[in-house]
């Protein structure tokens, strides 16, 4: 009976090899997980297996911008390992079952299932549901994913891509045979800026500005870097001093609690290309009378923001200024802000302090490409 069992296992390995599965490290994910039609498959269960007890190793790596694979160190939350990775990067999950001196024909397998909890990232919406976790090629990652029955000391690797939105992905791995055990880990997908509580905070209430844009779907919409928040608080205070009779500035949407894609239409898609790293905000145009807008633009440029006027295009429903905080020590004068929704928007910071505002659309009001008349324009009430 035992000989039959061993023969069956060896036949299994031979079939796996024939199917293109390479048991070496760094196997191609498609080969490792088999053909798409193979899922889900039941792992072979061979009763009476009595191989050695091995040690489980789990590793999560991400691909850096220059193509290197960087292992992520786990932090622990209630004894559960937590790996923090950036949105939209290629990741590599490695499971292994090791033994210093495994006897022949000792083997293991694993079944790994993930669950996705986007509300950790600030997304309290589920219609449509978040897209499935994908492979780097864009196909759905099988869930659960099964390894083949694999010799001890051989890794099982699968590659996947972290979603563009922030979320917590919990992976539960059930190991069988020589490493029979269950392991749970969290993979927190969030921008790196948000992981340091000394560098990331939410916008407090303050003088000279109001916070808008919070919704049931995105109730916390004003997280940003500490430098960003401090700059905005100061801008509000300076605005109040410069234009005490004017209304407050309207601040809308910095970033979600863990950053990442800010899907303002709750569909896990742009249009916001920015608002991911806590250094962008939208400032309402309607809330500022036309005669005060040039003053505001100059104050924003001086405070360190590159300023774009948006709303004069059909793709941008609402007239607003889109601000991008410049690196420390830099002002916005002459800076070009990356576009948020449409590359045709206009930049509003002149090259030099005394230069005129470069485009009259920076001061005029448009919503969704429609010119909004504001005549008669009251005089500026700034000092």
């Amino acid at each position: 009976m035992k000989k039959l069992l061993i023969a069956a296992i060896l036949l299994g390995f031979a079939a796996a090899a024939k199917a293109g599965i390479n048991f070496d490290q760094g196997v191609d994910v498609k080969a490792a997980i088999g053909q798409a039609g193979d899922f889900p498959v039941e792992m072979p269960f061979i009763p009476g297996y009595s191989g050695p007890q091995g040690k489980v190793d789990i590793m999560v790596s991400i691909r850096s911008e220059n193509g290197e694979w960087i292992p992520i160190a786990a932090q622990y939350e209630n004894k559960v390992p937590v790996y923090t990775v950036s949105p939209g990067v290629e990741a590599w999950t490695t499971y292994s079952c090791t033994h210093p001196n495994p006897p022949p024909n000792s083997y293991w397998s694993v079944r790994s299932e993930y669950k996705n909890y986007p509300w950790y990232g600030g997304h309290y919406h589920s219609a449509p549901p978040p897209p499935n976790i994908a492979t780097p090629a864009g196909d759905d990652l099988p869930n659960p994913i099964y390894s083949k029955t694999t010799p001890v000391n051989t890794d099982f690797v699968f590659r996947w891509k972290t979603p563009a939105y922030a979320t917590r992905i919990t992976q539960e791995a059930v190991f069988s045979y020589s490493c029979a055990s269950t392991h749970v880990m969290h993979i927190d997908v969030r921008v790196s800026e948000s992981t340091n509580p000394r560098q990331w905070m939410t916008m407090p209430k303050g003088v000279g500005y109001d916070l808008h844009g919070s919704t049931q779907a995105h109730p916390k919409n004003h997280f940003g870097t500490v430098r960003m928040i401090n700059t905005l608080v100061k801008l509000g205070g300076d605005w109040k001093k410069a234009c005490p009779a004017a209304g407050n500035l309207s601040y809308n949407d910095i970033s979600l609690p863990w950053g990442g894609l800010f899907d303002i239409n709750y569909n896990w898609q742009p249009p916001h290309e920015e608002h991911k790293h806590g250094i962008n905000i939208d400032v309402g145009k309607r809330q500022v009378v036309k005669s005060n807008r040039e003053k505001l633009i100059r104050m924003m440029c001086d405070a360190g923001f590159a300023v774009r006027s948006e709303g004069d295009l059909e793709t941008e429903k609402r007239g607003h200024y889109h601000l991008t905080l410049q690196p420390p020590g830099q002002t916005g004068w002459g800076r070009t802000a990356p576009f948020d929704m449409d590359p045709l928007g206009v930049n509003c910071c002149p090259a030099n302090v005394g230069d005129p505002i470069p485009d009259s659309k920076c001061v005029d009001l448009y919503d969704g490409g429609e010119y909004i008349p504001e005549d008669p324009v009251p005089p500026s009430d700034c000092l």
Partner: protein, 216 residues
């Protein structure tokens, strides 16, 4: 530009499907033939409206179905009606029991603005209201003008009373019966007539999303 309708009553608008036999394209073997019939529409103004419009804006051309973006047409299917299409609606805006018209089109309107490249001219599309005046007359008022984007992705509609959500504040806004609106791929833009003496006569409400008709 326009087709005259020699009548004074309010039969203002005609929707006419135009059948086109697609005989020039043979689909590849094994594939079903598509696109046998093509639809269009034509806006027909009564003489008095037409004269007022020509006097105000001689070059004005009401957009036809062919001016519209294909994806927009899929997302906002045209409902056959004798008083509404993408580029024209007929309704009593000023409450005098006579039909008025709101028309969306182009009039070779170019407006200068200052840019980093110096002064540049940019084309605008116009939305005009042809409002009844007295017992038989009409006058034309500009409802709005928007930067020209082709193909066109905005359709006119007359809204029923309801609610919509303000795009910026996320607050609920009351929509009044008879409010005029652009419907776009996302959200609506509402233009509300405020009276003959108001400046401007049509108020442009902030962009709204999630319009919901009362009672639905």
């Amino acid at each position: 530009m326009f087709r005259k309708l020699p009548c004074s009553f309010a039969a203002l608008f005609l929707l006419c499907p135009v059948a086109v036999v697609s005989s020039d394209k043979t689909p590849p073997a094994g594939q079903p033939r598509r696109g046998y019939v093509k639809y269009s529409y034509q806006v027909i103004l009564p003489d008095a409206m037409l004269n007022a419009l020509k006097e105000h804006s001689p070059a004005f051309r009401i957009f036809g179905l062919e001016d519209y973006d294909g994806d927009f047409r899929k997302s906002a299917p045209l409902t056959f009606s004798s008083t509404a299409c993408y580029s024209a609606v007929f309704t009593d805006i000023n409450g005098d029991n006579r039909d008025d018209a709101v028309l969306f089109g182009e009039a070779d309107l170019w407006i200068e603005h200052r840019s980093v490249k110096g002064t540049v001219k940019e084309e605008y599309f116009s939305t005009l209201a042809v409002l009844s005046e007295g017992t038989t007359g009409y006058r034309v008022v500009q409802v709005s003008r928007g930067i020209a984007h082709r193909p066109v992705k905005k359709g006119l509609t007359v809204l029923a009373a309801g609610t919509a959500v303000d795009d910026w504040y996320r607050t609920t806004v009351a929509v009044e019966e008879g409010d005029l609106a652009w419907f776009m791929a996302e959200g609506v833009h509402i233009f509300r007539w405020r009276g003959r003496d108001a400046i401007p006569e049509f108020e442009v409400l902030p962009p709204l999303t999630s319009y919901q008709r009362k009672g639905k």
